[in-house]
C-alpha cells in the first residue's frame, strides 16, 4: 500500500535531474507536474497514480526456511486484499473472459526463487496496465546480433509512445526461453533505479541503449522531449543456439516498488 502512495527518493531525484536537462517546454511542464503530483500524494497519503496495478510479488526464500499453516500464496493474496482495501487503492483485476471484477485485486502474480540463507526478501511491484500492455516478446534469430536486439528495444519504446507513460524504466530480458525471458525483463525493473549490471559489457550496453531510447524524441508522456527513459536495465541468461529471445517490459514514470527483508 505504501508503495502506491510514495515514490522512492531515487525516482524523484531522477525526475529532478531530467527536469534540469529537458529542453522541451512541454516536457518540462510534464516533469514539473509529476513532481507536484508526487508531493500531493505524499502529503495526502493517497495513490500517486489511480492505476494501482497488478500486484506483482517476488519472493527470494532462504532455503533454511519452512513454515506451517496455509499455503504461502494464500497469505500473499490476503496481504494484497487488505492492502488494496485499506489503502483506498483501485481494484483493477477482472476475469478476462467474463469481465467480472474479482473485487479485491487478487490474484497477485507471484514469482519465487530459492536462495541461500535464512531470510525472505519480498519485492512488491504494483504494475500499471498502460505500461504492461506495451510489453513485447521477440523470438529473434542469432544473426541479428547486439544491434538487432537494440533495434527491437528502441522500436518497442517508439511503438509505446505516450501510452506507457514515459519517462520510462526500460526492462530488457535477453536469452532463456519465451516464458523466462519475459520474467527476466520484469525482474530487471526491480534493480535499484539506474544501478548498472555488474558485468561491464552489459553495463555498457545499458548506457548506450538508454541514449538510443532518449534520442527517439518521444519525451515525457509522449509529448516530445529528450527524456523518454530514466533508466534501462538488462538481465540475461544462456539460451539455445537456435534462438535469440528478447523481451521488453516497460515501467511507467510512477515506478512503485517496495522491498522488505523478513
Amino acid at each position: 500500500m505504501h508503495s502506491c502512495v510514495e515514490l522512492g527518493a531515487e525516482v524523484l531525484q531522477a525526475y529532478r535531474s531530467a527536469l534540469e536537462r529537458e529542453e522541451s517546454p512541454i516536457g518540462r511542464e510534464v516533469l514539473q507536474t509529476l513532481l507536484d503530483n508526487a508531493a500531493i500524494a505524499k502529503e495526502q497519503q493517497i495513490a500517486c497514480c489511480q492505476d494501482t496495478g497488478t500486484a506483482i510479488v517476488y519472493l527470494q526464500i532462504g532455503q533454511e526456511i519452512s513454515w506451517l499453516g496455509p499455503p504461502l500464496v494464500h497469505s500473499i493474496n490476503e496481504g494484497v486484499r487488505q492492502g488494496y482495501r485499506d489503502g483506498y487503492l483501485r481494484m483493477s483485476i477482472h476475469n478476462p473472459l467474463t469481465g467480472e471484477n474479482t473485487g479485491d485485486n487478487t490474484p497477485a502474480v507471484v514469482h519465487y526463487d530459492i536462495v541461500e540463507g535464512d531470510k525472505v526478501t519480498v519485492h512488491v511491484l504494483p504494475k500499471g496496465g498502460g505500461s504492461e500492455n506495451m510489453s513485447r516478446l521477440g523470438m529473434l534469430v542469432p544473426a541479428v546480433g547486439v544491434a538487432g536486439i537494440r533495434d527491437f528495444v528502441v522500436e518497442s519504446v517508439i511503438l509505446a509512445g505516450g501510452k506507457a507513460c514515459p519517462p520510462l524504466i526500460v526492462g530488457v530480458g535477453i536469452g532463456a526461453t519465451a516464458d523466462s525471458v519475459s520474467w527476466l525483463a520484469k525482474r530487471a525493473l526491480l534493480r535499484p533505479l539506474g544501478e548498472h549490471h555488474p558485468d561491464a559489457t552489459i553495463a555498457a550496453l545499458e548506457k548506450s541503449w538508454l541514449q538510443s531510447v532518449n534520442e527517439t524524441g518521444i519525451g515525457p508522456l509522449g509529448m516530445g522531449g529528450r527524456t523518454t527513459a530514466l533508466a534501462l536495465h538488462i538481465e540475461t541468461q544462456g539460451c539455445h543456439i537456435t534462438g535469440m529471445p528478447v523481451a521488453v517490459n516497460l515501467q511507467c514514470h510512477a515506478h512503485r516498488h517496495g522491498i522488505a527483508v523478513l
Partner: protein, 184 residues
C-alpha cells in the same frame, strides 16, 4: 498562453484552440472508459438512448481509485486513449465535443476531429493525486455495477490539459517529437 475555459465546450468555443495550448477547464465532465463505451454502443445499437446527455460533453477516459472519506474524488488520471478509438465516431455523433486522455490516437481519430470539429485533450497520465485536487464534486450517474469503470459526472476547477489534436486535425505528437529526435 494559458486559457481558462468553462465546460461544457461548444464546437464554436473549440474552434480557436490550437495544438499545444494549455487549458484550465472548469465545470462538468463525464468519466467513461472501455466498459462504459461498450455499453453505450450496445444501448444505441438496440435503439436506446445513452444514459447521459452527450451534447457538447467532455469525456474523460479514466477510472478513479475509491475516495477517502470526505474527499470529493479518489485519485484519477487519464488512461490510454487508443483503446477507445473505435468508439470516437459514435460518441461524436451523439454530441461529444472533446476527449481527455493520454497517448497517441489512430490516424482516423484525427480525421474525425476535423470532420466533427472536436478536439483531443491530453491530461497528465499518472498524475492522479494532482488531478484529484482539481475535482470539486463527483456523482455516479450510470452503470454502477462497473465499479471504477462506471460513468461519473465530475465537476472540475481549473483542470490543466494540453490540446493534443485540434479541430483542424493538427497532432501535438507529430509536431513536437521530431524536434527532439536525433537524426544523426
Amino acid at each position: 498562453m494559458p486559457l481558462y475555459m468553462d465546460l461544457p465546450l461548444s464546437k464554436e468555443a473549440l474552434k480557436p484552440l490550437r495544438t499545444g495550448d494549455i487549458l484550465y477547464l472548469s465545470g462538468p465532465l463525464y468519466t467513461a472508459r472501455d466498459a462504459a463505451h461498450k455499453r453505450i454502443a450496445v444501448a444505441v445499437s438496440s435503439g436506446q438512448k445513452p444514459p447521459i446527455d452527450l451534447t457538447d460533453a467532455a469525456i474523460f477516459y479514466t477510472g478513479p481509485c475509491p475516495a477517502k472519506p470526505g474527499a470529493p474524488s479518489g485519485p484519477l488520471s487519464p488512461t490510454t486513449s487508443a483503446r477507445m478509438d473505435s468508439f470516437v465516431e459514435l460518441m461524436f455523433k451523439l454530441g461529444m465535443s472533446s476527449m481527455i486522455g493520454k497517448g497517441d490516437r489512430a490516424p482516423y481519430v484525427t480525421d474525425l476531429c476535423r470532420h466533427y470539429g472536436g478536439v483531443y485533450l491530453l491530461g497528465f497520465g499518472g498524475a492522479a493525486a494532482l488531478t484529484a485536487s482539481w475535482v470539486i464534486a463527483s456523482e455516479l450517474v450510470a452503470y454502477e455495477d462497473l465499479g471504477t469503470e462506471a460513468i461519473r459526472r465530475l465537476t472540475v476547477e481549473k483542470m490543466k490539459v494540453i490540446v493534443g489534436i485540434d479541430s483542424l486535425g493538427t497532432v501535438l505528437m507529430e509536431q513536437e517529437i521530431p524536434k527532439y529526435r536525433y537524426n544523426g
